[in-house]
Symmetry: C2
Amino acid sequence: MTIQQVATEAGVSPSTVSNLLNGRNHRMLPETRQRIERAIDKLGYRPNRAARQLRTGRNTTIGLVVPSVGNPFWGALARHLESAALAEGYHVLLCNSERDPRRERDYVDELWADGVHGVVLCSSLPSLEHVMPLVERGLQLVAFDRTSQAGDPASLVSISVDNAIGSQLAAQHLTDLGHRRLAFVSGALASVNRKERYRGFTAALEQAGIDPATSVRAPVKGDADDFGDVEASELGRAAAAELLALEEPPTGIVAINDMCALGVCRGLRDGGLEVGKDVSVVGFDDIVLADLYAPTLTTVRQPMKEMAAAAFTQLRSRLDDSGPTQGQSLLFRPELIVRESTAPPAERTPS
Amino acid sequence: MTIQQVATEAGVSPSTVSNLLNGRNHRMLPETRQRIERAIDKLGYRPNRAARQLRTGRNTTIGLVVPSVGNPFWGALARHLESAALAEGYHVLLCNSERDPRRERDYVDELWADGVHGVVLCSSLPSLEHVMPLVERGLQLVAFDRTSQAGDPASLVSISVDNAIGSQLAAQHLTDLGHRRLAFVSGALASVNRKERYRGFTAALEQAGIDPATSVRAPVKGDADDFGDVEASELGRAAAAELLALEEPPTGIVAINDMCALGVCRGLRDGGLEVGKDVSVVGFDDIVLADLYAPTLTTVRQPMKEMAAAAFTQLRSRLDDSGPTQGQSLLFRPELIVRESTAPPAERTPS
DNA sequence: CGCGGCTGGTGCAACGATGCACCGCATGCT
DNA sequence: AGCATGCGGTGCATCGTTGCACCAGCCGCG
C-alpha cells in the first residue's frame, strides 16, 4: 500500500503518482491519469500521513484546547468545530486544559511538537504570553470566546460573541419587563469577556435610568479558576443564597453563563422562590439544556455553529494559503431568546 | 532541533541519543547519559513524531468516536478519557459520528490511515461488521457503552455499565416506593444496552409481583438514529405526552438515559404535572445536570471516570506491551442515586 | 600468545512521500 | 540545419528517527 506499489501497478514512476495526488497534473495525459486512479482504488491506497508530514512539514490536524468538554458549551464547540474540519479533511486533536494554565501551555507545546500548526485556544487566561514563543515560530492561533487584547500577538485571530451587547440585551429585557432591582452573578471578572458582559449589564441599567450603584452585584465567590461546569453552577447556587439573604433581594438576575444561571435557579428554589414568577433569571450561551430546564431559561444565544465554522475557516486559510497573517477580531451578534424564566416582577417582593 | 544536533552537542552519535531516548541505556556510561541529557534540554529538543512514526509504525494517539460531544454524557467520557491518556503521554483524536453509521466507518478508516492503532468506539450500531477488515489488520478496538455480541471480533474489549442491574435498581426503587403502574421510555430497542436496560426493568417488575404485561412501555418514536442529545430529550418529551393521554397514566417512569428523562420531566410539566410529586421519574447516567435540574433527578450513576480509565488502560496495554490480544468484557457496577424526582405515588392519579 | 567474550558505543539502511532539476523527444521558427 | 520551446514524465536527494549489525578496545584464561 505504498506509493511505489501504486506506481508499479500503473506502470509509471512514484513521482508521477505523487504529482497526481498533489494536483500537479496539468500536463498529464488523461490516459495516464486514469491508469493511476484505477491502480489507487484497486489497491485501496491511502497516502501515509507520517511520511507526508515528515517530508512537507505540514499536516491536516488542528488542535482544540478547551477548559473541559464535560461542559456542554465547550462540548458544542468541539462538535461544531470538528464538523467543519471534517468537511475539509482536517482532524481535531482534543485537549482539556481543566482550567489549569500550566496544562494549557503544555498542551500547546505538545501540539506544536506534534507538527500541529493551528490551534483553537479557549483560554481562561487574560494574557497569552505563555504561548508567544510558538506564535513567533509560526503557530497560528485562534482565540475563542476571548476578544483581543493589547498585548496579544499581532497574528492572533479572536472569535467571540459581542459580550457587551449580549448582556445588555439580557438586562434590557429585564428592565423592559419592569424590574428595577437587578443583580449580575459571576465569578471573578478576571477574563476579558466577563468584564465586557458586566459592562453591558451596567449600560442597560443606565439606559433604563437605574443607578448601577443601587443594583446588586453578587459577591464574587471563586478566584480565576471557576471556569468549569460544576463550578459555574455551584457558584450560581451559592450566589443565589447570598442574594436572598439581602434585605431587598433583586427581582431580576443576569448570570454570566447558562450553567451559572441554572445554578442560580437551583439556589432560588432552595430558598423557596419560583423562578419565572418570584424572580426572573437570564442566562448566556443558550446551551441545549436551557430549553429543557424547568422553567425553560431565557438566555442570550451565541451562534455557536457559525462561530465554530469561522474559527476553522480562519485557521485553515492561514495554514495552507498562507493567507492573511494579520490578526483579526470577529465579533458575532448575540440574540436574546425569551423563555419562561423571565416575567414582570411580582407585586411584592416575596418574604 | 534534530537528534543530529543533540548528538553533535553531546559529542556522540545520533544512535546513542536514540538509544537513550528509547530506554536502551543498559550499557551506557552514566557520564555519557548526562552529557546527552544536558544537550537535550539545553537545545530544547523534542523528537519529531512524524519521523518516529514513519520509522516505527507506532504512535501515541488514540481515536475516540462518539455520537456527539455536544451530549454531556459523551462530553464527560471525552474529558475523562483524554485525562487518562494524557497521564501516559497519549493524545486523543476526537470524532463525532453524528450517529451516522457511514461517517462512523469513514472515521475509523481515517484513523487507521493516520496510523492510529487504537480506537474507543461508541457505536450506535448493533453490528461491528463495518470495521472488521481493520480489526483483522490489527486495529485495537474498545467498544464503550456496548456489551459484546456474538458476532463481534474476538479481540474486542467492551466496556459498559451493567445495564440490566442498573435499570433494575431504578425500577425497584419505584416499586419499593409503592408504584405499581410503571413505564419505560426509550427509543427503538435497537442497541444492545437498550435491550438490557429494558430487561432489567421487567425483571424488577416481576420481582415486585407486577405483571410486566400490565406495565406501560412508552411507544417508540424514533428509529435507530435517535442517539443524540436533542433527540433523546425530545423523545422523552413526546413520550410523556403520550403517556399522559392514557386512561390510567403510569405513576413511575424509567427513562433510557438522563437526557431522555429530562425530556420526560419537561413533557410532564407541559401536561401540568409535578415531577417528584404527581409522577416519579428515574434517569440513567447521572450527568452533571441531573443534580441541577428542578427537581433534581433520581438516576443510575455510571462510574464514568473509572470506565474511561479502563478503556484507556485496555487499549494501551494492547498497543505497546502487545498484551492480551484476547477479547474481554468489563461490566461496571451502577449505583442508584436518589434525588427529588422520585417519591411515593400520590393518593390519587391526578386528572 | 591467541582466542573468546564483554563493554560502550557507532554505521547505515531503511520508513513513504515529495518536488526540484532534469531528460528525451517532437515540433516550430528563422 | 540549428536552436528554442513545449510536452509528459522520471531520478534522486531528502525529511528525522530507529534499531540491527557491527566494531574497536580491553580483559581474562588456558
